[in-house]
């Protein structure tokens, strides 16, 4: 069925309910290799819902149909010097998918935020409103078109990152933010992971408004085949990166002050403008672990933990598995490429992680591995039961993306 509008989505979902046949929801399906294989061969493709409904730069909002190509939307808002502040990541390199693909609905469905999450929040913080069709076959709206809104439950928060298991979004309103005038990166060289973690903690606790704090140990850096991180690697040593953004005078001042604050960690070198931006794109998209690179055959984990614990955790993980780790969010986000093993080191990793609190998603792995390992983190029993009740309150017949999030529900 060709989906032209929300009514078509509603009709398609209702038909699926009537047939009791689950459907897979896709935008451009650039992230189809994340999660568990779905127990269906029926696909609901929303990519034809691709119009920009309304863009009001002065209101800092944009409303688009969910299938709108992200590429187009990003260039549109870029033309007004605006952006999505949560810096959504492009998973194409990591997953070995075609670049330039992806819809806004898919971006929200996946909810993967980039380096600026520590300052600006995640996708969930920028979704102001949505129209969506639930697994009841009902078209409902959530939120609104204004930034300050506490009218009713904030259903948008649930939709972001729900991987299409609650409702099919047909239209979304997102907050946009002005782009910073400039950006600079301070680079500290040769710190071990734990020390780097301490440097990032100090930077993030400073008044200098750091908008990115990442660390790439040298072996991980060296895996980068091209781009800004590869250029850094060629000069030996791991790199700890701290980003400052804003108006020119302020960034210059803060860079000097922050470098002085961090003097005990070493002399910081300064990378400016375009090269700085390129560095953060590489961190965001985890280019050293690219599917066509040296570590391309290794499974990749996305681990979220309390930031100050990241360094020690990652260092131990790399040592125990022989893998490589890259740190973002000041230590709160770890990308780990681990040598292939029966369970992609899931048991070890999740056991260790339980001690500090956090969760891990197996973002890249072959289908065989994904069939035996829980891609998404298993929650504590009571929370998992609540989450399941929440899911059923949107989709009682499990029509939408059945089996995507949990291995056990494949039937």
């Amino acid at each position: 069925m060709h989906i032209r509008d929300a009514a078509d989505v509603e009709a398609a979902v209702r038909a699926a309910i009537a047939r009791e046949q689950p459907i897979e929801i896709i935008g451009h399906s650039s992230k189809r290799s994340i999660g568990h294989a779905m127990a269906t061969n029926a696909v609901l493709d929303v990519s034809a819902l691709n119009a920009v409904t309304c863009y009001e730069p002065n209101e800092l909002i944009i409303t688009v149909q969910a299938g709108a190509p992200l590429d187009d939307v990003l260039s549109l808002i870029d033309s007004k010097s605006q952006e999505f502040a949560f810096e959504p990541m492009d998973t194409a390199l990591l997953l070995g998918a075609r670049s330039g693909r992806g819809t806004v609905g898919g971006m929200i469905g996946a909810g993967l935020a980039g380096p600026r999450r520590i300052k600006a929040g995640g996708a969930r913080d920028h979704l102001l409103g949505a129209h969506a069709v639930s697994g009841f076959g009902d078209s409902f709206k959530a939120g609104g078109r204004v930034v300050k809104n506490v009218t009713g439950y904030d259903l948008c928060k649930l939709l972001a990152g729900s991987w299409g298991t609650l409702a099919v979004m047909t239209e979304v309103t997102l907050k946009v933010m002005p782009k910073a005038e400039t950006g600079r990166t301070l680079v500290l060289r040769g710190l071990d992971d734990v020390t780097a973690n301490r440097a990032m903690t100090a930077a993030l606790g400073s008044p200098y408004d750091v908008s990115g704090a990442a660390h790439a140990p040298h072996p991980a850096l060296r895996a980068a085949a091209r781009g800004a991180l590869a250029r850094l690697a060629s000069r030996g040593h791991g790199a700890t990166l701290l980003r400052l953004e804003g108006i020119v005078a302020s960034v210059a001042h803060r860079a000097t002050a922050l470098a002085a604050d961090l003097a005990s960690f070493g002399m910081a070198e300064l990378i400016e403008d375009a090269e700085s931006a390129a560095l953060w794109r590489d961190i965001r998209d985890v280019t050293p672990f690219a599917a066509d690179g040296a570590l391309g055959a290794w499974p990749v984990w996305r681990i979220v933990c309390p930031p100050a614990s990241g360094g020690a955790f990652g260092q131990a993980l790399a040592r125990e598995t022989g893998g490589e780790v890259i740190y973002d969010w000041g230590g709160g986000l770890l990308w780990a490429a681990l040598p292939p093993s029966v369970d992609a080191h899931a048991v070890l990793l999740r056991q260790r992680l339980a001690a500090i609190g956090g969760h891990a998603t197996l973002l890249r792995a072959d289908e065989g591995t994904r069939r035996t390992v829980d891609v998404f983190h298993q929650q504590e029993k009571g929370v998992a039961a609540l989450a399941e009740r929440v899911r059923l309150s949107f989709d009682p017949k499990s029509i939408l993306n059945r089996g995507r999030l949990t291995r056990t529900s494949i039937s």
């Binding site: 078109r145 972001a160 609190g357 983190h377 929440v390």
Partner: protein, 497 residues
């Protein structure tokens, strides 16, 4: 105007003495209050026009006690109304005749200050301001700053998704909370999120925040703290027309500048505030903006220049820039005292809270003016201009028969107008009972049903804070049915179940 509340359960009321005794077995001593005189302070929240003594007040001190109380009430079909500091302006904590009022005021301990992870773990009864005070020594603060911050509890902030002047730049409560301990109506204790920047699975914390005490009782919160900006300076800018002030706000944002705060007052509010605090506000203007820039001094100095130029370009007639902390405080003093100041010029006032798209500001103010004439009531406007959150203060005299009803009808019309202009019914005070019956103006029955189904996932028996937020109560079983309407079915020939 009487607000319909859920019918009282006579069976529960008849068992009151037994219930009091049972609760005392859980919370001994002074933790259970049931004399009329002692329950008086709990009769209402800050929406004082509505009062209702609760059946009994219980003030637990531990999560374990909260869990046992809720389980007891769950097993016995007794309704529960949670309460923090009782500063809600929408009647969220208004008791019910047949409900237990669960006060969280004794949860006053900050459990952990973790500067390395930039979080504070605290009990829900701690005030908003106390969190900032607890980390001030290290140069940190908690960003969301409702004007009620000295009094309101962080638990109430979570329930209401509260915000303040800083929200434009630093977000509301929802953007600054990482996790909580939640007790469900069944008594089950859950941990949602924690110190990690993101939680696993669905964003349950995001849905609990702003749920107005209808989903569960929060017994611990993990909030993000931020390092204080190096400095802050403010501009006080007056305009001969409201439209020009609105234009100025739009151009500042359009220029890519996000101030730490951007507030607006109209003429009646300016005059009331000036008479009260003598902040030296210009009295010959129709609108006054207070714009605060924060960050490193070098940045603030530069942005002040840019904002000043924009203001002049929009035809501002006064533009003063704070030269000292004392002067900045003075600029804010009037705005911060605007509500009590208005309270001095009118026996009573009703504070409304709707949001509109920024661009609709002039149209909204014109409509409010017209409505004021229609109802014959004065109105002063104070609002968070940066994010379009209006606070019209409707002036009336409760002693004059019929005036309160008129004020409420006026307020409802303002909120409906906000929705018509593309905005929403409430920007920060919540729906509570105050705006409950206006919900269908913004949401269709289908929209509301979806929200209520979610409520059922947390509280299947509907015992937690019923009568708030939703204009009609539904049974969860009836909401759970899938309707496939034959009229709309796209494939009518397919078999239906």
């Amino acid at each position: 105007m009487p607000i319909m509340m859920p019918a009282s359960d006579q069976m529960v009321l008849n068992r009151r003495d037994a219930i009091v005794a049972d609760l005392r077995a859980i919370v001994p001593g002074e933790g259970v209050i049931f004399s009329a005189a002692e329950m008086l302070p709990y009769e209402s929240d800050a929406l004082t026009a509505y009062r209702q003594p609760p059946m009994v007040v219980v003030l637990p001190e531990t999560t374990e006690q909260v869990s046992r109380i809720l389980k007891y009430c769950f097993d016995n079909g007794i309704k529960v109304v949670p309460r923090g500091s009782g500063t809600s302006l929408s009647g969220g904590a208004l008791p019910l005749e047949d409900a237990v009022l669960l006060g969280l005021g004794k949860f006053k301990r900050i459990r952990e200050i973790d500067l390395d992870n930039r979080v504070v773990v605290t009990e829900p009864g701690v005030t908003n301001l106390a969190i900032s005070q607890a980390v001030a020594h290290a140069g940190f603060y908690y960003a969301p700053d409702p004007s009620s911050q000295i009094a309101c509890s962080i638990g109430g902030n979570i329930a209401e998704n509260s915000g303040g002047v800083h929200c434009l730049k630093y977000g509301m409560t929802t953007n600054n909370v990482l996790g909580c301990e939640l007790v469900l109506m069944s008594g089950e204790i859950l941990r949602i999120g924690g110190k990690a920047p993101e939680q696993a699975g669905y964003d349950l914390m995001g849905i609990i925040t702003g749920s107005e005490g209808l989903l569960g009782v929060v017994t611990e919160v993990t909030v993000r703290i931020l390092r204080k900006p190096e400095t802050a300076r403010a501009l006080l800018v007056g305009f001969p027309q409201v439209e020009a002030a609105g234009e100025c706000v739009a151009r500042i944002i359009g220029a890519g500048i996000i101030p730490g705060g951007m507030e607006m007052m109209d003429k009646p509010a300016i005059h009331a505030a000036e008479a009260f605090v003598h902040a030296d506000y210009p009295l010959d203007v129709e609108a006054l903006l207070i714009i605060e820039l924060d960050g490193p001094s070098i940045e603030v100095d530069e942005l002040i220049k840019r904002v000043e130029a924009i203001a002049l370009g929009c035809g501002s007639t006064t533009c003063r820039i704070s030269g000292s902390e004392a002067e900045r405080d003075l600029f804010w003093a009037g705005r911060k005292a605007a509500f009590p100041a208005v309270g001095r010029i009118s026996p009573d006032y009703l504070c409304m809270d709707g949001t509109i798209p920024r661009g609709a500001l002039p149209r909204a103010l014109a409509r409010i003016r017209d409505l004021g004439e229609k109802y014959g009531l004065g109105v002063a406007n104070v609002f968070h201009a940066g994010d379009g959150n209006l606070h019209p203060l409707i002036l009336y005299d409760a002693n004059k028969p019929g005036e309160m009803d008129k004020a409420e009808a006026f307020g409802a019309e303002i909120l409906r107008c906000c929705v018509e202009l593309g905005g929403v019914l409430t920007g920060e005070h919540g729906v509570g009972i105050e705006k409950r019956d206006l919900m269908p103006h913004m949401f269709s029955e289908v929209d509301l049903n979806q929200q209520q189904r979610l409520k059922c996932a947390f509280d299947a028996r509907g015992l937690l804070n019923p009568g708030k937020v939703f204009p009609t109560l539904h049974r969860c079983a009836e909401l759970g049915r899938v309707h496939v309407h034959s009229g709309k079915l796209a494939f009518p020939d397919l078999p239906r179940f």
